[in-house]
Structure formats: structure tokens, C-alpha cells
Amino acid sequence: MHPPFSMVFLTTLIGAGQGLFLALFTGQIFSQFKLLQAHDSQFFVVGTAISIILLCLGLFSAFFHLGRPERAWRSAARWKTSWLSREIIALPTALGAVALYGLAHFLGYTEPLMITAGGTQIDLTILLGLLATITVYILFICTGMIYAGIKFLQEWHTPLTVINYTLLGTASGFTIATALAAYFATNESSLVPFYATWAIIFTLLALITRSASLIRNRFFIKPKSDMRSAIGINHKNIKQIAQGSMGGSFNTREYFHGKSEGFVNAMKIVFLVMVFAIPLVLLVFAFNLSGLIIPLVAVAVQYFGLMVERWVFFADANHPQNLYYQQIS
């Protein structure tokens, strides 16, 4: 597939936005259960604002994917059958839920509405946070299923696609939360170790599942279609000599990335280093060294790494229609 940059931006930005919200809410839950010191309410307000900005930027870039962006509103129509339609509903819903959560923090609705038997206080932000968590996970599933749902793209047609979108988004969100915690850290209290620990855990989990999909796609995929089934002639030696046009066509532009196999393989190394290796090292450093610069570098490196990762995700997928477009003439 030809990696569409609008989709690279969309999926990485909303993934980070969703992950950041999950990080904030995880922190709040830990605080609420007294497992962690209390957060500054500004932390949630600023964090949610960043999360909303990321989600909005993602939504904005998605419009560039459309030939007719002015009709985008129509795309909510077929949510019963289309994962794309479901995502288009889930994204604004998650955005709204996260915004409500941030607004509740901003307006200081932290008076406990009820108190559980264990003495844990439940306030409006917790309830809205739970709602937003559900919408965020629905969005992760919808985004992943857009790709995993196409059975013809065997590289994508696996639960690993949804798992990777979820874990990579969560990992990048927790890394951003680490940087945010470093920004809000004071000499007496710092939440950096908490967020850095979770960022490392999710980055490691994502490393395992993303490596699993790389290995699966490299060694375990047997293409279902070949030239024989494509044109229905049972001969092992079929060579295309003309594809019906002397220039390119939509079929050659949309489905071929135009780079060598070596380049794609090099990009795989690049993203493994940028998404996993460098941020992991920097996050470990962030434990001991105070200051904003290390976690910020981790955020930047991981985000650019994720863009490369998404590029590879698209470039790695081999569409069966390519069988009909092997040779210009």
C-alpha cells in the first residue's frame, strides 16, 4: 500500500491523544485509591487540553484523506457494517467525553458524589473519566478494525493490528504524561516515576506485540492469491506484459509505495530504535534525572518513530490487486 500521510498523522495523533487521556485517568484513579500522592488539578486540565489538541489535529488531518471533505458528515451513515463509519462516530464521541472530563477538572467538580465502603471518594471527574475511558477504547478498536477488517490485506488481517494500535497509542500517551509530570514536578513531589514506569511497561508490551506482527508478516504469511487465481490460468509461469495503460493509474498510485524492499527494511530498524529503544533508555534516565528535557526528547523521538512505524505498517501490506499491476508494458 502507498502510505497516505493523512492516515499516518491521524492514527499517530489520536493514538497519542487517547493514550494521554488514559495516562491522566490512570493517575487519578491511583491517587483516588491513595496509592499515589494527589495530583495538582492543573495537571489534569493541561493534560486533557493537550489530549484534546492531539485528537483535534488527528481529526483535522483525516479530512485530507477525503476526496470530498465537505461531505464527511455523510460517513456516519453505515455504522452497522463499516468500521470506518464507526470510527467517524467514535472519534468525536471520545473527543467530547475527554473534553467533558477536562471541563469537570477545570470547573473543580471534585466534591465527592458518593463514598465507597472503603472510603474512596467518587466524584464527577471519576464518572466522566470512566465514560471517556470506554469511548477511548471503542475508538482504539474502531481504528484498528478499519485495517484489521480487510481480509484481503493479510498483513493487517490479524488481532495484532488492533492490539498494536492500542498499545502504541497508550505507550506514546504515557510518555507524554511523563513529560507533563516532569513539567509539574516540584522538589517535594514528583509524579515522574509513576508515569515513567507505566510508559516503560506499555512501551515494552508494544515492543512485544509489534515485533510479533513484524515476524508474522515476514515469515508466516502465505499469500492466498497468486497469478493463477488472479487470471484463472493454471500455469506456474505467468508474466504480465501489459497492464492496460502506458502511464500510471489509480491502481499503481494507491497500492505501491515505490520504495525498495531494502528501504522498507531499513525503516523497520529505524522505527524499532525510535519508538522503543531510545524512549526506553530516556524514560529510565527520567527516573533519576530531574528536568523536562529528557522526557520531552523521549516524546519527540517516540512520536517521529511512530510516524515511521505507521509508514511501515502501510508499506508492508501487499494488496492482491497488485498481481494485476506488475508491469507497465
Binding site: 476526496g67 455523510r74 468500521w83 487465481s229 487470471i231 484463472g232 504480465q240
Partner: protein, 244 residues
């Protein structure tokens, strides 16, 4: 239920591209148009086509055979491009099984083309909506046309009659007979898309002739012929004479 479709005979297709040009001519000026070309006379010409003829070389030289392979939307009975469309612009007609795109609803997201294993859909670079073969839906029901012209433009133009058009659900239609009697097959059956369009394979027309079929053993003329053998030095030997 009706399922209109094309049956394409690879045995007689000569790869002349008449179906490609007639398709483009009819559809670019009709309901499904325009089918925009860009750089038509430039270095890298490109454009929208509903139908393309591709050529394949089968075998190893010198034992090769060239197969010309017209490819358009196959109007699948289980079209994978339809349920993925977020707007419902991509749909399959109940009454005749034609898969169409409503250009007014299409947002140009290209997701339907990702979900087509045949690469039958092309995004129009100018109109920015997805386009595909309509089976000339604006011809086949047009009562202003004489009845024998109510066929897709590609079928009308094919000089070798390699393209048949009809209802593949009607057992007695020409297309059903052709599929049944001439081993019609579907493309990429492994995906379960059940394409309605079928292809008829290459056939070798051969008959075996034995020498005695060319010369009847009891041919009365053979007696006269044998007499000629009596000419000096060419005639039968003594042993042959005794066997008379």
C-alpha cells in the same frame, strides 16, 4: 433474482482494446462520466477507466502463449466493497445485482477500493469520487435504443464477440450456457466474493486424423490405384500379387 454479468471468452479475445475505448466513450459522456484524463498527451498520461485489457505471457519461450485479459468490475454477488462504505454510496442493486457508486454520496475515502481484491475501482482524479464499471446501466434499460443495442458498450463493440452479457442466474441464458458448457470460471474464488462475471478459458481445437480416415480401405477407386502399381519397377512384388 436477476444477476446481470459479463462472460469474457479468453479464447477469442485478441486484445484490440475496442471494449476499453468504447467503454470510455460511452461512459465519459454519459451518466457515469466524466472519466477524466490527465496529461493525456504528456509524459505520464493517466486517467480513469472502467475497463482495461491486460496482457499476460504464459509459459517459457518458445512454448509461450499470450493471453489478453479484459478486466472490469466483476459485480460480485458478495461484494466486499459495499459493506465497508461509510456513507452507503457504494451499493448493490436488488433488482439486477449491479454494483454502483452514488457519486453524490461518495466522500472519496478510497476504503472501498482497499476492500476490492481485483483493483476494479478507480478514484477519479478530478471529480474526486470513486468510479467503476456500471455495466452500462444507462444503456441496457434505455427503451429509446433498439432492443439488440440494449447491451453494455463493450459488448457491442467487441469485434470477436468475446464478451457475452446476460443474467447468470437464468439457467437458460446464453451466459449461463456458456459458463456451463465451456468451463466458465471466476477470478480469485478463494476470497468468497462470488464474482458474477465469468471468464471462459483458452481452448485448443484439435482433431486426430488417422491415415485410414483419409483413404477409405474399401474405396473402389483403390483398385484402379493399385493397377497403377503395375507400372514397371513400381508395381507390387510377387508376394503382393498372390495376396490379391
Amino acid at each position: 433474482m436477476t444477476q446481470l454479468a459479463l462472460v469474457i471468452d479468453l479464447n477469442v479475445c485478441v486484445g484490440c482494446h475496442a471494449c476499453v475505448t468504447s467503454c470510455k466513450q460511452w461512459n465519459t459522456s454519459g451518466l457515469a462520466g466524466p472519466m477524466v484524463d490527465q496529461n493525456a498527451y504528456g509524459e505520464d498520461p493517466t486517467g480513469t477507466f472502467f475497463n482495461r485489457v491486460q496482457s499476460f505471457e504464459i509459459g517459457t519461450y518458445p512454448q509461450t502463449e499470450t493471453v489478453h485479459f479484459p478486466k472490469s468490475c466483476l459485480h460480485c454477488e458478495e461484494p466486499p466493497c459495499v459493506p465497508v462504505c461509510p456513507t452507503g454510496a457504494s451499493y448493490k442493486r436488488e433488482q439486477d445485482g449491479i454494483v454502483l457508486v452514488d457519486y453524490d454520496k461518495c466522500i472519496g475515502c478510497a476504503y472501498c477500493s482497499w476492500a476490492c481484491p481485483y483493483g476494479a475501482r478507480e478514484m477519479d482524479a478530478q471529480q474526486r469520487v470513486m468510479k467503476k464499471c456500471t455495466l452500462c446501466v444507462d444503456r441496457i434499460y434505455d427503451e429509446a435504443l433498439p432492443e439488440d443495442e440494449r447491451k453494455p458498450a463493450c459488448v457491442m463493440s467487441c469485434p470477436t464477440s468475446a464478451r457475452l452479457f446476460g443474467d447468470v442466474h437464468d439457467e437458460n441464458s446464453d451466459v449461463s450456457k456458456a459458463i456451463r458448457e465451456r468451463a466458465g470460471y471466476q477470478l480469485m474464488p478463494e476470497w468468497g466474493t462470488k464474482p458474477a462475471n465469468h471468464y471462459l478459458p483458452r481452448r485448443k481445437t484439435e482433431i486426430t486424423i488417422h491415415p485410414d480416415e483419409l483413404e477409405r480401405a474399401d474405396n473402389p477407386l483403390s483398385k484402379e490405384e493399385r493397377k497403377q502399381h503395375n507400372a514397371p519397377s513400381t508395381g507390387p512384388s510377387l508376394d503382393d500379387m498372390t495376396s490379391w
